[in-house]
């Protein structure tokens, strides 16, 4: 069974700080997706990474897919209160597969 481990599970920081969230597995994934979920809402897809070593930027968010396609990281620069939410990573075992394996998430709180 493929598993995705996210760390840390909880993170509370002050506005303006930088942070990194990790998503690790012993299995290889053909693609990996990051979502953000705010309280009372469904997850919103932020990015999909498909190539080992790939780096994608979305404003202050930087996503990296590991060279071996077993891990990924999300780095947020100068966090804002609006970044508060549950960050989920999810991986696809093979290209074009509909099924995703989800990590349990990192709950981020950015304090003013």
């Amino acid at each position: 069974t493929q598993l995705l481990e996210q760390s840390p599970q909880f993170l509370s920081i002050q506005e303006g700080e930088n942070l990194t969230v990790y998503c690790n597995s012993s299995s290889v994934f053909s693609s990996l997706q990051w979502y953000r979920q705010e309280p009372g809402e469904g997850p919103v897809l932020l990015v999909t990474v498909v190539t080992g070593g790939e780096v994608k930027k979305l404003k202050r968010l930087t996503f990296q897919f590991g060279d071996a396609r077993k891990d990924s990281s999300l780095h947020i620069t100068a966090a804002q209160t609006g970044d508060t939410g549950l960050y989920l990573c999810a991986g696809s075992a093979r290209g074009g597969s509909e099924k995703l394996v989800f990590g349990k998430g990192t709950k981020l709180t950015v304090n003013p």
Partner: protein, 110 residues
């Protein structure tokens, strides 16, 4: 604006009842999904559908069934609700993987 719409945000039912959760998408996606989300367990796939009248079991299909009679609509059915089915239920659509989620139905079984 693309949307996945779930029929209810909150639902309270009794054990033994048959429960229907409805989901509609407006993006013409082939694939639709039903997940449940529980604290400490994350999102778990119940069923997904890759075409009208076609379905495939996910990781936890026991106690659930699904129906997809039209491309835009995917229903989750709890045949005889039990208290351990109290959860947040999320519908999603996407090709091939979930790209858009609904806002969820928080279902309580008493």
């Amino acid at each position: 604006d693309v949307k996945v719409t779930q029929s209810s945000r909150y639902l309270v039912k009794r054990t033994g009842e048959k429960v229907f959760l409805e989901c509609v998408q407006d993006m013409d996606h082939e694939n639709m999904f039903w997940y449940r989300q529980d604290p400490g367990l994350g999102l778990r796939l119940i069923y997904f559908s890759y075409d009208v009248k076609m379905k495939e079991k996910g990781d936890i299909p026991e106690g659930y069934s699904v129906s997809r009679e039209k491309k835009e609509r995917f229903s989750l059915i709890l045949e005889s609700a039990s208290t351990n089915q109290t959860s947040m239920y999320l519908c999603a659509s996407g090709d091939p993987q979930p790209q858009h989620f609904g806002d969820g139905t928080r279902l309580s079984i008493l």
